[in-house]
Symmetry: C2
Subunit: 446 residues, 2 copies
């Protein structure tokens, strides 16, 4: 039933012999340079290839190589970073490269058509003894390499399925399934279709503990106990909604399988007339905050964009406007999008005062409002004084324009917003011509 589809998919995503050979050659070249440069330091530093390229589980066309430089456990952190980076820089010499930062600094190089990460780490005896989270990777590599033999195609199918459904990747932009998690699922369930069958009946709170030695409190939507470190949940980054989307997709595919699950149509940019028609038929008000995106990695940027979405949304709510839906996007420019049920509220607003039995507060409240511009006399309702006063913001766009900087913003985002931002409403949004933002708008409404 599924065989035809899966073999067609596999034909597209499985690296051919030539691609494999080329990748091996590139990897070997880098490892050789590591050996040479490491030898000069007099330290026992070993280069190893890790990740999907090491395990034969990369999808054709990907050109990522993860090379770890493992240092003896007794190395100091300072030495590791200094000598590790120094080796890595020399390995990358001649190629274009840049320094990047995760827990440690590392080198990202563009080498011979490949994107190569050169990552220094500690070589510890057990994964439970790691000094830094990257130290875990060699253990993952070893475990998967040992257990994945013969199941590589199944991993490829599952990865591509997850990519097609937008749930692949454990970075903070996606909150989806990591490559390692995907591989473990295949090792546990033995095939792509069996993973889908199992997933279609998963419930949040499920714990998969392949070694039976797990030690993880199941507070995450899904727990996959790390077979190399029983205290760690491999699926810790997976959000409840991404889990849900995967489960929903699994059910959908099993019911009516189709290649589109793996290769969805790319959404086209939303046109001017289309947006006008959509706005008219929905009857909502679209408000977009736009500013130049800060030049930081997505794992730092996206939590800040989500934070801004939330804090501005709460500010809007405090002013009695109702957010129907919202989303964020970033390319060169960052966009925070709010869809509101109503864009104008009445001039009059209720202000609730103290309970009448508090004589002191009641007196102060009445004194404060008896001379002010109010819409009605001060009255008592449900035991409290109430006064009807003018609303500060009757227009949602003006509210957002005026109050966005008073909202809780992450450091980098705040810096950029302070430099300048635009607030656009409904058809004003058509001033944005950026193709990728128009694609984002299409996806928002699809």
């Amino acid at each position: 039933m599924y065989a035809n589809i899966l073999s067609r998919v596999l034909k597209k995503i499985k690296p051919r012999e030539e691609e494999r050979r080329e990748l091996s050659r590139a990897a070997e070249g880098i490892l050789e340079r590591v050996r040479v440069e490491a030898g000069k330091t007099g330290l026992d530093v070993r280069g190893i290839l890790v990740g999907s390229s090491a395990r034969g589980t990369w999808v054709s066309g990907e050109h990522d190589l993860d090379v770890f430089l493992t240092f003896p456990e007794e190395t100091t952190r300072e030495e590791l970073e200094r000598i590790g980076l120094s080796i890595a820089r020399k390995v990358a010499e001649g190629a274009r490269w840049e320094e990047r930062y995760a827990e440690h600094p590392y080198i990202h190089a563009f080498y011979d058509g490949y994107e190569v990460d050169l990552v220094p780490c500690f070589r510890v005896e057990r994964a439970s003894q790691i000094k830094s989270s990257v130290d875990r990777t060699p253990f993952h590599n070893e475990y998967i390499s040992k257990n994945i033999k013969g199941l590589e195609d199944e991993v490829l199918l599952l990865k591509q399925f997850m990519k097609g459904r937008g749930v692949y990747g454990s970075e903070l932009k996606t909150h989806g399934f990591s490559g390692y998690l995907t591989e473990l699922l295949i090792i546990y369930y033995r095939s792509f279709i069996e993973v889908l069958k199992a997933a279609s009946t998963w419930k949040p709170g499920l714990v998969i503990d392949m070694g039976g030695h797990g030690n993880v409190a199941p507070s995450d939507p899904l727990v996959m106990v790390d077979p190399t470190d029983p205290a760690r949940n491999v699926a810790a980054a997976l959000s409840i909604d991404q889990l849900g989307r995967f489960i929903d997709s699994a059910r959908g595919f099993l019911e009516s399988p189709a290649e589109e699950y793996f290769f969805p149509n790319l959404p086209s940019p939303l046109g001017d007339e289309e947006l006008k028609i959509i706005l008219k038929s929905r009857g909502t008000t679209l408000i977009a905050i736009i500013f130049d995106a800060p030049d930081i990695v997505e794992d730092i940027l996206f939590p800040q964009l989500r934070k801004m979405e939330q804090s501005v949304g709460e500010m809007i709510h405090r002013h009695d406007f109702k957010v129907f839906r919202s989303d964020v996007y970033s390319n060169k420019q960052a966009v925070i999008l709010f869809e509101l049920e109503v864009s104008r509220l009445p001039e009059v607003k209720k202000h609730i005062g103290p309970p009448f039995w508090n004589k002191e507060h009641s007196g102060a409240f009445k004194a404060k409002y008896s001379g002010a511009k109010i819409f009605s006399s001060i009255y008592i309702k449900d035991g409290r004084y109430i006064v009807e006063i003018p609303r500060k913001y009757v227009d949602a766009k003006n509210l957002v324009k005026a109050e966005v900087l008073s909202c809780g913003l992450g450091k980098h985002v705040a810096n950029m917003v302070r430099k300048g931002y635009q607030v656009l409403e409904n058809e004003e949004i058509l001033a944005i011509k950026d193709r990728s933002i128009r694609v984002f708008l299409r996806e928002y409404f699809s």
Copy 2:
């Protein structure tokens, strides 16, 4: 400080000698007719004058006489009603009269310029042994008559003050202070000013127990233990907000005394241009439901109007419109008034489905909506399926028009609404020319 004002007020509200004499003569005439008619029955039925006219605590100009026909305790309820009404009818003979119903039937007669209630009741030994709530009245009468001597003027002032502030009357339209409660407050605090001074620091939950033998759980906003029946709260009908308004007025009067507290300016009917200006400046939407008022006493009508206000308000709320304020009025026509923050909502509406981990419900939900007219694909948010569907009512007036009869309505009100009703919005309300409804609108906005 207050003396001048109070003596001016008293001059206006205290019955003169002639008014007293006339009232005595009228009461004596009625009691004599009761004696004659009761004598014919062979039963020991005695007529007594009760209420403010019996105690010298009526406000000048009021022409109410409450005459109770007391029957021996061993009379059956059937006999009491039959013979009691028969005596009352004969007493009222020659006058215009009608039968009315509270717990028992009684006769209301228009007699010689007075409105006379002729009420049959049981004559029991103690107030705690009453068979019907009207049996209590003779005990109240006796208690007040005994204790009020010399304090009548203070009662008059307090009653008039409460009338001026809209908190006098324990009927279900008002939920305010009864005449008996007013008299007890004066007996307890000894003067009008002392009642106000005490009230200005009252808090809900206060229990006043003059006999020190109270047995009332203080769940009401104010408890005044009935000195003739320690298990009864004389202030049971008083609502928290009417208590609050009295307390607020007491503080206000003590701070800057003025005759207006007793005799407020009568509000004038709201004019067409005024309503237009008010609506424009507030920016809200006014919706009025109008129908012919059922011909029932206010104590039955007003709870039904309030019930309608509440059930229609909840219906409006369920459809995502927000009620800013509401009120009811009744004269010949009944009016339920809603002031809404917004009168139009977007076409699109979120419909929240089952959590994704419920496979069966999820399947049914997706099947139901995959063919339907929807605004977006079905998506997952916060663990649940969501679909964006067309809103049934985007216009508040249409909503109210269509759904008013599906709301919970009291029996008499439902009958009248079924016969016909109008729903008017904003300036359409100007079609109502009834003067008293225009006064109600003035008060609503004041």
